[in-house]
């Protein structure tokens, strides 16, 4: 039983770790780092695992947790300080991929422009950037697919205008 639990947990983390990391990174506000938020998300996934219903999609469930934890931490930070859980068994190492100055500048512009959006719009655009279908986004957010399509069109335009003006 324990081995099974371990296997399931490992698969969830392996399949979703980089998506979680991207979400954490975009919600990062100093002094909290993406790695801190990532560990908190892992902790919350672990805690919610017994309540996970097999009938719902794993990645949908993981996205919901990641977005909730990250948005909540941002709100807590606004009110005062925030302490996230520390997990020694999660190891972060720099990879061989080193973004150049141009990519860094573009990422910073994207980060700032997403942060400037309303909270609900932030979640929508993040899920859209993750290449999720409107159907899946609807499952996560509870909005209708039509509503999402309309909103995404508007947010996308807003985001592109913001990035363009920042990169001028």
């Amino acid at each position: 039983m324990q081995r099974q639990e371990e296997k399931v947990f490992k698969k969830i983390l392996d399949d979703n770790k980089y998506s979680i990391y991207r979400i954490c990174r975009i919600y990062t506000v100093p002094p909290v780092e993406a790695q801190d938020l990532f560990q908190e998300v892992v902790f919350q996934i672990w805690k919610s695992l017994p309540n996970f219903k097999e009938k719902s999609n794993v990645s949908t469930w993981v996205y919901k947790i990641a977005l909730n934890v990250c948005a909540r931490s941002k709100n807590q930070l606004k009110k005062g300080n925030i302490n996230t859980v520390r997990l020694e068994s999660v190891e972060f190492k720099s990879s061989d991929f080193i973004p150049d100055a141009d990519q860094n500048e573009k990422y910073n512009a994207l980060h700032d422009c997403i942060s400037a959006l309303e909270e609900s719009d932030q979640s929508l655009v993040i899920l859209y950037l993750e290449d999720l279908s409107y159907k899946k986004i609807a499952e996560i957010t509870g909005l209708t697919e039509n509503h999402i399509a309309v909103k995404i069109k508007r947010i996308r335009k807003k985001l592109l205008n913001c990035i363009t003006s920042k990169l001028k």
């Binding site: 639990e5 371990e6 990391y21 790695q35 807590q76």
Partner: protein
């Protein structure tokens, strides 16, 4: 034309997004991680609980003089029952683990 330009820009944005996790390699020692997680209570949650307790305590100071001895005794009894119940549940959970 503008539509084409926007579509290209969006592809660029998507690439930046996709690359944003490529700078880190994330590894887990899952068995160790599970033992670690079992022993953790998030500071994040503890802070929330502490904030709630502080709020309750400060409200309580406002009202405690207005509570009769009868009510205080009833609350004490209820708390005792509640504590016993929580202890039983925790005990059962420990046995399950």
């Amino acid at each position: 034309m503008i539509g084409q330009e926007q579509a290209e820009m969006w592809e660029d944005v998507k690439e930046i997004w996709g690359n944003s996790s490529k700078g880190e390699k994330i590894n887990f020692q899952v068995s160790k991680l599970i033992s670690e997680l079992k022993g953790k209570v998030s500071q994040f949650e503890m802070d929330s609980i502490e904030a709630d307790i502080t709020k309750i305590k400060s409200s309580w100071n406002q009202y405690k003089e207005k509570v009769s001895q009868f009510e205080k005794d009833s609350i004490s009894k209820d708390l005792l029952k509640f504590t016993k119940l929580v202890k039983k549940v925790l005990q059962k959970l420990k046995i399950k683990k």
